[in-house]
């Protein structure tokens, strides 16, 4: 798994917010009316996925992705 920095993780967390907020509007285009709780659940799922990627990246970093290894 690719290792991501805490800062990038935080930035990605920020990006999940507009996705979650507009998720319901998007569903609305197709006539699907979701309750407010769906937004919270969706956001929670996004955060869980991100956290999983972050944690896995920390536990099993790719060999070639070591800090500074790729800088020319």
């Amino acid at each position: 798994m690719r290792r991501i920095s805490p800062a990038l993780f935080l930035v990605l967390v920020a990006f999940t917010v507009p996705l979650a907020v507009e998720f319901r509007t998007f569903a609305g285009f197709f006539g699907i009316e979701l309750p407010f709780i769906a937004v919270i659940v969706f956001e929670a799922v996004l955060l869980a996925v991100l956290t999983a990627i972050y944690v896995l990246g920390r536990i099993t970093p790719d060999e070639e992705e070591e800090e500074g290894a790729a800088t020319p």
Partner: protein, 598 residues
């Protein structure tokens, strides 16, 4: 390693002072913004609805004019000094414009804030657009005029620096940052003419009682003659940072110097002859003039779309220099830990969203749906409120160390702060856009009306209100963290190398740019010509219709008590008393009595 403060200690002091005024205005304006957001969403009400407009005026003036423009004059002073590599011609002139602008700011702010105290016979609850015939205290207009004249002197200071530099470098290209400053100031001189005429010839004499009446459509049109270019005046410092600083922070260099010059020239040409697009639904202006403003506005998208390309290409180049690979995974190689980089990148991203909502506003027939609704503040909180404000805050994390010789107090707090701003604005701005679509008006203390309910297409009105309140809370906390971080930096000790302040040469250097791009007189001439073409006929017809001075006498923001009682009694059928002020009936009467005494 010597940084800016070591090379130009006098100029660094002016820039620091300008930033200090900007940040004080930011703090006060943000606090008022929070109070308003909580008030109109009915979450927490600490003020009367009548005072809402006083705070709204202060919020607009302090953030949109004082914070942005004081940051701009600081940044431009830094950019001119740095890119010419020489001290300003006369530091006394520099302090003079700083003093004039600050005095003007203080006068205007005092006139506004006095509106909160009934015992002071002064108020300026006319909002940032000060449409006559609503009248403010003369001190408000005089303060604004001093502020504008201060910016003109600042521009003169930079042009004098240019002349000195040109004397010694007759054949060199104007350095890119200086080019950006000079073109922006040309745009500013052309556009502030409108508001200066409006304030000096009409509003000041009228508020002093020297002339009896004004022509409301004329002063409004003159305001918008200035009111659209001013948004580019806010945006150009952000562009300057995106073009010249952001690529460096990303680890690379600017993609193309010539294209950056083209973009700034386009702004000089097209920024002003578009103001009528704020008046699409005004009577008294023929449809043809609105159509011209619309096409000019659409072409004004071009420089921003070109900027999107150049800035993203430069950042991608930086990421690849840092070892980034693939179509999109280079994004991960960017220095996200650096608050200056992360803040500017997030600001740029939100500017893309704000740009799209701006395209909606520019479409003159779809504008009917959103004109003067909450959609509009939603739009400009993304543009000036994020693209500009967040870029300025992020830029501070890179500039302040050069100006003070001190390292940023805490980069993690900085990163947290810029991300909080982004998330807060996602909530607030998104909800404002949506509320505007179903008709919630802007500039209103009380969005709860008696005769009808707003209907949300997706979700509920209550959720939208909560999003606005929550977003504004995050934004306010973000400003608190920012101000804390800046104050702590200022209070720190000096270090040897506070920041890497080098800016590498662009990939396509200025030598590739056609010489005509540096012909400032030519672009000024064309810009003036376009303005004359776009504005002569509309202004002539407005003056012809209702006269130069019109027929509107003075109107205070409040009306007499007897009149209100008459109206209330007459309207008892479907209007209850408390709707007059939206608070409890007793409070409403108390407010009105207080207003009458004022």
């Amino acid at each position: 390693m010597a940084t800016f403060v070591d090379k130009f200690p006098d100029e660094a002091k002016v820039v620091q002072a300008s930033f200090a005024v900007a940040f004080i205005a930011l703090g006060i304006g943000a606090l008022f913004g929070l109070i308003q957001a909580l008030h109109r969403t009915n979450v927490l009400r600490v003020i009367d609805s009548v005072d809402y407009y006083t705070l709204l005026t202060a919020h607009g003036v302090l953030l949109a004019l004082v914070f942005t423009i004081f940051f701009l004059v600081g940044l431009f002073t830094w950019a001119v000094t740095r890119s010419f590599g020489r001290a300003l011609p006369d530091i006394r002139l520099t302090w003079a414009w700083f003093g004039l602008m600050t005095t003007g700011t203080v006068l205007a702010t005092v006139a506004i804030v006095a509106g909160l105290f009934p015992q002071i016979p002064m108020s300026a609850d006319v909002l940032y657009t000060f449409y006559a015939p609503l009248q403010a205290h003369p001190i408000f207009y005089i303060g604004l005029a001093m502020f504008i004249i201060g910016t003109w002197m600042a521009g003169a200071d930079w042009f004098l620096a240019y002349r000195e530099w040109r004397g010694e470098n007759p054949d060199s290209r104007i350095p890119l940052q200086a080019f950006m400053v000079l073109t922006t100031m040309i745009m500013w001189y052309v556009s502030t003419l409108g508001v200066a005429v409006s304030v000096v010839f009409f509003l000041i004499p009228w508020s002093l009682g020297l002339i009896e009446t004004v022509n409301p459509l004329l002063t409004r049109t003159l305001f918008w003659y200035f009111g659209h270019p001013v948004v580019y005046f806010w945006l150009m410092p952000a562009y300057l940072l995106w073009y010249t600083v952001l690529p460096k922070l990303a680890g690379g260099r600017l993609f193309s110097d010539p294209l950056a010059r083209v973009v700034f020239v386009l702004f000089v040409l097209l920024s002003t002859p578009v103001g009528i697009h704020h008046q699409y639904v005004d009577p008294g202006i023929a449809e043809g003039f609105k159509f011209i403003a619309m096409t000019n506005t659409m072409f004004l998208l071009l420089p921003s779309l070109l900027t999107a390309f150049t800035v993203v290409a430069s950042v991608e180049h930086g990421a690849r220099q840092r070892g980034g690979e693939g179509y999109l995974s280079w994004l991960g190689a960017l220095p996200w830990r650096d608050p200056a980089f992360a803040g500017m990148a997030l600001a740029g991203l939100m500017f893309a969203a704000g740009g799209f909502s701006g395209m909606i506003n520019a479409g003159m027939n779809i504008n009917y749906l959103v004109h003067n609704t909450l959609w509009v503040p939603g739009h400009f909180h993304m543009t000036v409120g994020t693209a500009v404000a967040l870029t300025m805050m992020a830029g501070t994390y890179w500039l302040l160390p050069q100006l003070t010789g001190k390292a940023v107090y805490s980069r993690p707090i900085g990163l947290l702060q810029v991300i909080m701003w982004f998330i807060g604005m996602v909530f607030m701005s998104n909800a404002m856009h949506r509320a505007g679509l179903f008709g919630v008006p802007r500039r209103t203390a009380e969005p709860q009306y008696q005769n009808f309910d707003f209907v949300a297409a997706v979700g509920s009105v209550g959720e939208i209100r909560m999003q606005i309140a929550f977003g504004s809370l995050l934004l306010f906390l973000s400003v608190v963290l920012f101000l804390f971080n800046v104050a702590a930096t200022w209070a720190d000790d000096r270090v040897d190398t506070p920041v890497d302040d080098t800016i590498p040469e662009p990939l396509s250097p200025s030598s590739g740019a056609p010489l005509v791009l540096d012909n400032l007189a030519l672009w000024t001439g064309i810009a003036v010509l376009l303005v004359v073409l776009a504005y002569t006929l509309p202004l002539a017809s407005i003056v012809n219709d209702a006269g130069l001075l019109g027929g509107s006498p003075t109107f205070p923001v409040t009306v007499s008590l007897e009149w209100v009682v008459d109206v209330t009694v007459g309207a008892l059928g479907n209007l209850s008393l408390d709707s007059l002020a939206g608070v409890a009936p007793a409070d409403a009467v108390a407010d009105l009595v207080r207003e009458v005494r004022r």
